[in-house]
Symmetry: C2
Subunit: 138 residues, 2 copies
């Protein structure tokens, strides 16, 4: 590495009935429950224009992941050959940033409820971005 480091600061946390990694689905569309994103009070202005039904991408920091893993068995299936982590969605990777496409289903001030989210309770939230519309509708 070239030695540069950058610091990410959680803007909120996931509040979810998923509390155990072993129970978490591997992807959000594999039976993950709805969850709340609970934003920090100083994020009020950044959050204020989110709207129900919007498709969004959530970035999380997967704080239970192992950062020194470079190859892994896809979906933890040891009958499949190990492959480089950049060819997988494994949480174990050098920068364990979770990427979750989901939909806003409710908003209550600093709390934003989203559809199928496979991140467990307490996972730090780094960012939320709109899904981009086609060029011309932006």
């Amino acid at each position: 590495m070239d030695g540069l480091r950058y610091e990410v600061r959680p803007v909120g946390r996931v509040a979810s009935p998923l509390t155990d990694l072993a129970d978490a689905p591997r992807q959000g569309d594999e039976g993950a429950p709805e969850a709340w994103l609970v934003f920090e009070p100083e994020m009020a202005l950044a959050v204020q224009d989110l709207v129900v039904a919007e498709q969004v991408i959530i970035l999380t920091w997967l704080d239970r992941a192992q950062r020194d893993v470079l190859i892994t068995h896809p979906r933890n299936d040891h009958s499949r050959p190990a492959v480089g982590v950049f060819s997988t969605r494994s949480p174990d990777r050098p920068n364990p940033i979770g990427l979750h496409r989901t939909q806003i289903v409710a908003i209550d001030g600093l709390r934003v409820r989203v559809s199928g989210l496979e991140a467990i309770d307490g996972t730090p939230v780094l960012d939320i971005k709109p899904v981009l519309d086609p060029v011309g509708e932006r």
Copy 2:
């Protein structure tokens, strides 16, 4: 904030003919050029299974962004009302992580060439992930 911080470590850099922010398109499908991702040597195992033609998502650290911006005018158009940054794709946001959907067009060892990338030359690369196929094809 709750005070927790996490450290991201670049796994590579963007090498691009785009050297000036003023020339960068706002999104990758708005005329952005091909670019190389130049990975660090210690990432060789993580990179080894990437393949040409694969659709991938690249995460970058937008190191020129302003992190204290909470509201912004969409597409820097001051005739449009300012909105919370979480409703925009502005690089200026608390954690300036760039999200780029692109396609691998060539691979040369630790150098991976991708289609339309709006990040400027030198931008730190944090991660590369495959675009997920529908459930059942994973």
